[in-house]
């Protein structure tokens, strides 16, 4: 579904991604871990099409389409969804109105008619229960004054509403309390199926106990330096990243 080949990207003239290779198949869940500043959010931003990142080398293919040629909105319409590490507040725009606009933009792109008001409300109710999203937040301005955890839940609620093919969750677990982590993870698990793929960026193995990944990658200094299965996450939890960095330096100095 998604193929990333030798991806290099820079921001403000600074090279951040230095040759990422990653293949994500249909229905797979990949976890990406790595120390602060290693480039995890940058990778997510480049995939979503944030303008201040410049791709200097490499390719990204999504369902046979050159993703890098598409505008951010078209990527979303094609089925790429980014749950932001830091969701943005937009005063004055109600959560509901925003979601309806987004949903209809995606539907229009796919040649579907706009959703009927009644169907929209039904869908909203259903998905709201799935991720246990507080109904009072629906009519508030988008993320404005939401607590950290509420913002994260809103990302997952949007994910459920927009039903993308590929969802990238950037540290969705940070800021969630213990119960919320369980609820949100359960919600994500319910959304998982043979057609959908997930990229879960996290620092904590705890999340991966709920959302069990097929693969775990370690991103360091703009490259994937190790790939394994969920056991790798456990090992990282115990040993940290230093041993990997040392391994890498040894390899590079040879």
């Amino acid at each position: 579904m998604l193929t990333i080949k030798n991806l290099h990207a820079e921001v403000e003239g600074k090279q951040i991604l230095k040759g990422i290779n990653l293949e994500i198949g249909k229905g797979e869940t990949h976890a990406i871990m790595g120390p602060n500043g290693s480039g995890k959010s940058s990778l997510a931003s480049v995939l979503a099409g944030r303008e201040n990142y410049t791709v200097t080398e490499g390719e990204v293919w999504f369902n046979g389409k050159n993703l890098l040629d598409l505008s951010p909105e078209d990527r979303a319409r094609e089925g790429v969804f980014l749950a932001f590490q830091y969701p943005v507040e937009i005063p004055g725009v109600s959560n509901l109105n925003f979601l309806k606009t987004a949903l209809n933009e995606i539907r229009t792109y796919k040649g579907l008619p706009a959703i009927e008001g009644r169907d929209f409300l039904k869908l909203t109710k259903e998905k709201q229960q799935l991720v246990d999203f507080n109904a009072n937040l629906m009519n508030r301005s988008l993320n404005e004054g939401f607590s950290g955890g509420e913002k994260k839940r809103n990302e997952i609620f949007q994910l459920a509403m927009l039903d993308p093919q590929l969802a990238i969750l950037d540290e969705t677990d940070s800021g969630l309390d213990i119960d919320a982590l369980r609820i949100v993870s359960n919600g994500v698990n319910k959304l998982r199926d043979a057609e959908k793929s997930f990229v879960v960026i996290t620092h904590y193995q705890r999340l991966l106990e709920y959302i069990v990944p097929d693969f775990v990658h370690v991103l360091y200094n703009g490259r994937i330096i190790k790939t394994g299965t969920k056991e790798l996450a456990l090992e990282l939890e115990e040993r940290g990243y230093d041993w990997l960095k040392e391994e890498l330096h040894l390899k590079e100095s040879v």
């Binding site: 040629d69 505008s71 979303a76 943005v88 004055g92 725009v93 606009t101 933009e105």
Partner: protein, 481 residues
Amino acid sequence: MINSNEIIDDIANKEYEFGFTTDIEMDIAPPGLNEDIIRFISAKKNEPEWLLEWRLKGFAAFKKMQFPSWQHFKMPELDLQALSYYAAPKKKVQLNSLDEVDPELLATFEKLGIPLNEQKALAGVAVDAVFDSVSVATTFKGKLKEMGVIFCSFGEAVQEYPDLVKKYLGTVVPHSDNIFAALNSAVFSDGSFTYIPKGVRCPMELSTYFRINAQNTGQFERTLIIADEGSYVSYLEGCTAPMRDENQLHAAVVELVALDHAEIKYSTVQNWYPGDKDGKGGIYNFVTKRGICKGNASKISWTQVETGSAITWKYPSVILQGDYSEGEFYSVAVVRNKQIADTGTKIHHIGKGTKSRIISKGISAGRGDNSYRGLVAVGPRADNARNFTQCDSLLIGNECGSHTFPYIESRNKTAMIEHEATTSKIGEDQIFYLNARGIDTEKAVALIVNGYVKEVLNQLPMEFAVEAQKLLSITLEGSVG
């Protein structure tokens, strides 16, 4: 991927939708401002002696006045002698029915989306169409007359209802109020007149549509609305002009009078030609608008959506003379390219228990410059006066300006005055967030802006709120940088 600079260029070059001119035979007086032209206008309009005297007093006041210098922009050079002070479509003499209106004129208004044919007209809206300062047609007049509502051109009112005009003309905006009002008093051409009799709730929206067409003319309309005891009226004005390289002056005066328990709601959707992206051409919109809540428990509410004009300079104001009277000002002012707006309101609390509410939403894009200027004055008699002011600025891009000048003068200890202000910016991160949900940049801006101005647009009659919303999206299309 579309680069935001491209979008900016796109919009900057986008043409003003209403910029066409109408080819029509006009009576145009030679340029020049003097007593002769004032006598000429007055004679052309067959005015009574007292009105000519009033005009001449206005001219005398004008001659003693200077252009102000307190505004937050450089006063443009205005050569008032170079303007023509009378322009009227030739064919119009005395119109008895729409059939007599020049078809070219009807077509013009049709093109602007203002059908003057009553069959086609928007149900529930009566329109007075003013073309180059001359009223060319008023719809639904007959129907309104049955209820005693007078809705006609100013010139017609002078002929038909001279006592009413004489009683109220200049009582809210005196002939010597300010230099532009004085100029207007001297040379005003036409405009709109409305009288709602006692206890009548006007059954439809009254609307005046102003269209500037002629070149090198100034535009000086006068509007006078009187709501008698216990009556209600909702009035809307709209305006457009052709694209011309030189600036045109529009110096109108609007006076509102609300008697006991009466209510006037006055809405403006201003879309004069704003000039091109380098600030060439466009209308100077220097207008004096003021209402007086003369009667107890009366109410005047101004709503304005200002998107056009090279310079918008106006302060629709309310004098709260009657006890427990109420004044409101809801405003959205948008500037982009090199547009300038210096607008706001003045509320004078004179009667006791008077209340006012000011909601101002400025939007600045491109190299536009937007100022809110407001005065809340509470007099010694105004016990328990209340004011709430909310004054917000929204910036789009890095080159625009936004300023607020709120003045408060309170001479009564029991008054309560609240002022809130915010400044925010449409950030690239906000746009990206919406993009990442499948919403393109144009729509994203519209979504944010509509959310921002909702409180003001909600004040407009439904059909016009929809229009205004469209107008805002068109105006701001592509201004995110």
